[in-house]
């Protein structure tokens, strides 16, 4: 469920297809996420999952899988 919601966020934010948002997809190289996208991504994650994502946490993420793991970890 978490994964599906995160894929939806990427699709909505970046205008990519759900098929492109694989767990192994690299944020910068494959999905062209830049610094402003990262801010929007953290805001969208915060709103969707009712939690707080710090800038330094987002900056360390490299793949979609990293995003999923971060959120699952915060949700316990």
């Amino acid at each position: 469920m978490v994964k599906e919601k995160i894929v939806d966020i990427f699709v909505d934010l970046l205008g990519v297809s759900a098929e492109e948002v694989t767990e192994n997809a690299r944020l910068i190289e494959d999905l062209a996420v830049d610094s402003l996208d990262a801010v929007e991504l953290s805001l969208a994650l915060e709103e969707q999952f009712s939690l707080t994502v710090e800038d330094h946490e987002i900056e360390q993420l490299q793949t979609v899988s990293d995003v999923i793991n971060l959120i699952q970890g915060k949700l316990g």
Partner: protein
Amino acid sequence: MKLTLCSCGHAVPAKCIHNNYFTTFLETSDQWIRERSGIVTRHHVEDESLVELTIEAAQHCLDGVPERVREKIGVVIVASVNPERIVPSIASCLQTPLRLSEDVLTFDMNTGCSGLVYAIEIAGKLLAGMEEGTYALTVGAETLSRMTDFTDRSTCVLFGDAAAASLWTLTPGERDTFSAFTRSDDQVLFTDERGKIHMEGKNVFRFAVTTVPRLIRKTAEMADITLSDIDFFLTHQANSRIIQSIARDLKVPIERFPMNLEHYGNTSAASIGLLMSELWHSGQLDGEKTLCLSGFGAGLTAGSLLLKGHRPHVASENI
């Protein structure tokens, strides 16, 4: 009574600077600037003064109205973050060259990039206490190039110089709705000890994309209309990515968020007036239009002003 737009005008300096100019002395590229800001060119002053630019914009605005209307202008407000002199105010410098009455109330104000929206709201409140048929002239005027740190590649590519004027009066109709926001913060967007602009871009982005949609929804609720009833969202032209994010949050088609920052960059308090003037002179503000003006910037401040069912007013109707 509601605020009604009667005319618009603008002025930009002659010198136009393309993104490629910055690649001659900074590690940046045209593509990087376009992708992160949407900006391609901006205008910078050379010998022009801010007062001269302001007069030119105001003259352009008043060119379209009968001469007698000038005598009925009771309020002039200039929003600017960088007047060349503390006194006299820029607004007071307009009285003689624009042939305005000596009864006119003039002052400058600084609310960062929210300035023009605040000026228009204040103008409406002042007009409500004046004789019917009185007009207000609001101007956003900036020479940000004089406050720009050209060694800071993250900010120096963003700013441009411009002045934009709009003429308003009150006509029968539902009152406008306005929402303001202020949160004291002198670390995100401020001028340093040299008077140069320092901006934490990501934090400004975060502030704008969370605050502006909330204010727009609030003003629409106060006016008892839905977002689909709003024809144009005239948002401070800071960055196309911010505007796209606001549109996405509101689930409003981006086509209803006109933009001209590609040509002018971020002109602070002048930007919404510049956009409004271009729409006015291209005939796109004709007919019944509901407008939502939203500014955001240093303070941190933001403001949204909703002009419901806005029908441009022919200034001569009132005289």
